[in-house]
């Protein structure tokens, strides 16, 4: 069961469809969970800035905002996906 301890919270990050639990610092900006989630799921080859994070409703989340300010419950699902990147160039 995901828990919240002091200034830490466990969030469920679904990386391109694959789930992992990330321990996040409530005082840190949201983008800090991205490298951890990528490492834990073995996603390599694309830097953190090529990814985008959404909530369960598909709303894009501002990555510079402090995690505490989102008022996430422990175990909240966040969806991390590669940006579309290259497009319209054919």
């Amino acid at each position: 069961m995901p828990q919240e301890h002091g200034n830490k919270i466990a969030l469920e990050v679904i990386v391109n469809g694959q789930s992992t639990s990330v321990e996040a610092n409530l005082n840190a900006p949201l983008h800090t969970i991205i490298p951890k989630a990528l490492e834990q799921t073995g996603n390599a080859g694309q830097p953190p800035e090529n990814w985008e994070l959404r909530d369960q409703n598909g709303v894009l989340l501002p990555l510079e905002t402090k995690i505490e300010d989102f008022h996430f419950a422990a175990g909240t699902k966040l969806f991390l996906n590669l940006k579309a990147g290259v497009g319209g160039s054919a």
């Binding site: 391109n16 469809g17 694959q18 699902k77 497009g87 319209g88 160039s89 054919a90």
Partner: protein, 204 residues
């Protein structure tokens, strides 16, 4: 497409893809992604604009994981009822994205210190084609049709495979971002046609 990878390997990877998707299927469905069929090597998904009243089916998408993940999946927008790939002339969405163009300095306009010079912003479709009868392809790395296109011969699948660029949820997110999310309402056209005159009482 011919299966040249050991079919058991591709099938196992396909089944893992589908199992990962099923774990979060409830969330995906709430966003309007309906997985209708997942039988190796194909996944058929229908996209619904869930914010409309009544909700509207926008498009179908057919993913083909033949030879996965030695090769990326094929991704086509298809008729959600017949699964026939859309021709360019019939596409219900072009998956348009904004692309910042070159800076556009305006002569005589003094900008405050630190202000960015205005840029021209254009729209580009992620669905690409040449003729109206072509079946368009999704111009995104991680898609078979993208990597097979001669214009992308320098952008190999191997550079994107380990980042999960061909995974189901990732590709569906692209359609959601550029095809579903921009839809805010129905676009109605009311056509008024004069068909005659309103009549009072007919005289004797």
């Amino acid at each position: 497409m011919e299966q040249y990878v050991d079919p058991d390997v591709s099938r196992r990877k396909f089944e893992r893809e589908v199992a990962d998707y099923r774990l979060h299927e409830r969330e995906y469905r709430r966003r309007g992604w309906l997985l209708l069929r997942a039988e190796f090597p194909e996944v058929m998904v229908v996209f619904v604009a869930a914010n409309l009243k009544p909700p509207a089916i926008v498009t179908g998408a057919l993913l083909d994981y033949t030879n996965y993940d030695a090769a990326p999946p094929s991704f086509l927008l298809v008729n959600p009822l017949t699964e026939e790939p859309y021709k360019a002339s019939d596409l219900p969405t072009w998956l348009k994205r904004q692309v910042p163009g070159p800076a556009f300095p305006i002569e005589g306009l003094a900008l405050p210190p630190g202000a960015a010079i205005p840029r021209i912003v254009s729209e580009q479709p992620l669905m690409q084609w040449y003729d109206a009868d072509d079946v368009p392809f999704l111009c995104v790395a991680g898609v078979r049709e993208y990597h097979e296109h001669p214009a992308h011969s320098g952008d190999h699948w191997e550079q994107h495979r380990r980042a999960g660029a061909g995974r189901i949820a990732r590709l569906l997110e692209v359609v959601d971002t550029y095809g579903l999310r921009p839809i805010t309402d129905y676009n109605l056209q009311l056509k008024i046609e004069v068909v005659g005159f309103a009549q009072g009482q007919t005289p004797e």
